[in-house]
Amino acid sequence: MIKYKGIAARQFFILTFGLTIGTSILVTPSGLAHTAREDAWIASLCSLLINILMVVLYIAIARLYPGKTIFQMNELVLGKILGKAMSLIYLFYFLILTGTLLGNLGFFITSEMMPETPIEAIQILFLIAAIMCARMGIIILARVGELMFPWIVFLFMVLLLSLIPQIDWNHIKPILEDGWIPVANAGFHSSMFQELIVLMVFLPLVKGERKGEKALLWGAVAGGIVLSVTVLLSVLILGIEQTENSTFPAFALAKTINVGNFFQRVEGILITLWVLTFFIKISLLFLSMLHGIKTVFRLKEQNHLIYPFSVLFIIVAWNTYINTVYVANIIQQVWASYAFLHLLVIPFGLYLIGLSRTKILKSK
């Protein structure tokens, strides 16, 4: 077997795309419709814009320390002890994220598709796939992503095209009824669910000068567009009230597909779309955490940690995702500010400190 080192830019694009869509496609339309009402789709575009800003910030940091992962940068910027502490804070954030992701998946499948299957069975099965992926490493994941990508695009196109006949444009009028404030608010809120910072772990692995940065940017844009289209479709077809009141609006949307009384009840197939992106997201998180632990504790080998970690994930999943209402409440009230800290505030601080440090170094 030939060992390839590094990921191709195209593969990195796909990983970014998958991470962006991940859970967001299922959960965000409801929150957006709640705050931005008829303008949920504009809010979703706002969130895309915020994501682009974040990506630009990440790229700027990456350029200060080329070839370093976020965990290495922490240590370079903040010094050894503080940097390690910061890395641990990020690792904790990733851990909670992985846990809620697993919980979300479990609740989604058990409440919409297989109510009699124990939620644990679904989560463990899914985790086994993630474990395999973690053992194989990022390069294999990148290739798997490449294999999945055409399917994701195909299924999304099926969803999009088969829903066009049901569109009712009246659902999105009036535009900007309450001005930009709720729209921006909702957009900001939803942009906190596309944890693109995870990719800072893998950015240095991308082959080719600056190609990874481009892939990161375009991946975020493509993912953001898919999210916006989903939000737009949810509102256009379900209306605001039902988008807001659905636990999983995107799934409710897939349920309404009916082309000529013939092409219908296909949500069971379209669910693949979400499961595939879920898989990319969870595997990326898994790998980034392994990498982080390895950096922080200077381990030689990371694979021994896979099993303890997966047990930890399951435990976190069972304890964070207590019930749908509890999680919805956390998402509405706590999560955005918590994620904001990790996605924007800390990276921005890192950037400023890093910038002044390199400037000082240069002037010496």
Partner: protein, 402 residues
């Protein structure tokens, strides 16, 4: 290497033979519910479910014991799922709700409010949102589900397709899905409507297969106009012409028929082939909204029951004008009637205002129910007669004395 190959072959074979589903439900363990009926009861809800008798349906000859293709189970419970569970004391199989085509609500229930029932229907993951909803006019939903129907083996399917066809060709019924209903209910500028269905004949006779053995079945299901809701409560019924008006205003008319009187007595009948309605709102100087309904109608003449000379362009034009007048007058009258009698905005005019003037809407939002009653609505219709059928002059024309 050989070990690996053997292992992978083994794994692949086990993939084929050990696959399965945790919560699998085979068809022969399911009772597929085709229609649900819900009525009020002193102990909660009386639920009736029309269940497919699949063995009877599959075996046309032999094996059949001559029972009906469906069975209607009835039970009572504090909540709808409670009643459905209790049904299992009679039904030998698990009720499967994914294929419900029609949901019938009893009139009493509709008058008390349907939100509580619809909560269960929307919350249940098995039920989809694309079935049609009906109200059992002057009766109970259970009676509707107990009638054996001609043409269709399964009465629920008969109800389903008759809604489709009557909506398309008659335009005095409404095919309202749960999704539509909930949207109209939840929007502050609109009230929902539901189509009514009633028994034409006696309930007792309709229950047996003897009903369809006659050339003229003694009991039939009949669609009966639209029910007007104010919020989630049924407040009244519209007759056939007002029901058509509602569909015209909501732009749901595909084709229908009508008539208009001739200047010299008698009538001319026409078919509407296309009807396109747009609702608009203007603000007066004092920010009082004024609604307008614009209709574009294409009609064909289908019967002439008066001696007019139809061979003249002016005659067609005169007919067009008189049809327009009739539309303007009738629709205005019916809308006013709904406004004054029910105060329920089933035309979704509030949403029209909301879409066009969101700021003005804010001042009306909280008391739209009362404001709606005093809104003025103008109707402008434009009728174009396209075809006059296979003959030109009416057969009823006086013979010219040459």
């Amino acid at each position: 290497m050989l070990g690996r190959t053997i292992l992978s072959v083994l794994l692949m074979t086990s993939l084929i033979i050990t696959s399965g589903c945790w919560s699998r439900k085979e068809l022969n363990e399911l009772a597929v519910v085709m229609a649900l009926g819900i009525d009020t009861h002193k102990d909660g809800y009386a639920v009736s479910a029309q269940v497919l008798n699949s063995s009877e349906l599959a075996t046309k000859s032999g094996g059949s014991i001559g029972s009906l293709p469906v069975v209607t189970y009835k039970s009572v419970g504090k909540t709808v799922p409670d009643a459905l569970q209790r049904m299992l004391s009679m039904a030998p199989r698990m009720l499967y709700l994914s294929h419900v085509r029609v949901l019938v609500l009893g009139e009493d229930l509709a008058r008390q409010g349907v939100s509580d029932v619809l909560d269960y229907i929307s919350r249940n993951h098995q039920l989809r949102t694309n079935f049609f909803m009906l109200i059992a006019k002057n009766g109970n939903a259970s009676e509707i589900l107990e009638v054996v129907t001609p043409f269709e083996y399964i009465p629920a399917n008969s109800l389903y397709s008759s809604i489709l066809i009557s909506e398309k060709k008659w335009a005095a019924t409404g095919k309202v899905t749960l999704q539509q209903f909930v949207n109209e209910l939840k929007q502050s500028g609109s009230d929902p409507i539901l189509s009514g269905v009633q028994l034409n004949g006696s309930s007792a006779e309709g229950q047996s297969v003897e009903n369809v053995k006659k050339i003229s079945p003694s009991t039939l299901l009949q669609h009966a106009g639209l029910g007007v809701f104010k919020g989630d409560r049924l407040v009244g019924w519209l007759g056939e012409p007002p029901s058509k008006t509602v569909n015209y205003v909501l732009n749901r008319v595909e084709s229908t028929a009508g008539y208009v009187s001739c200047p010299s007595g008698g009538i001319v009948g026409f078919t509407v082939n296309r009807a396109d309605t747009s609702l608009d709102v203007m603000l007066s100087a004092e920010n009082i909204p004024r609604f307008s309904v614009k209709m574009e109608i294409e009609a064909d003449i289908n019967s002439v029951q008066c001696p007019i000379n139809i061979n003249q362009p002016s005659a067609i034009e005169a007919l067009e004008r008189s049809i327009e007048d009739k539309y303007n007058e009738n629709i205005e009258k019916h809308v006013k009637d709904v406004q004054q009698r029910y105060g329920a905005d089933i035309f979704a005019l509030g949403e029209v205002l909301h879409r066009k003037y969101p700021q003005v809407w804010k001042t009306y939002r909280s008391h739209w129910g009362e404001s709606f009653q005093s809104m003025s609505i103008d109707v402008h219709s434009h009728v174009a007669i396209r075809r006059i059928g296979s003959i030109i002059q009416p057969l009823n024309q006086e013979v010219d004395e040459k």
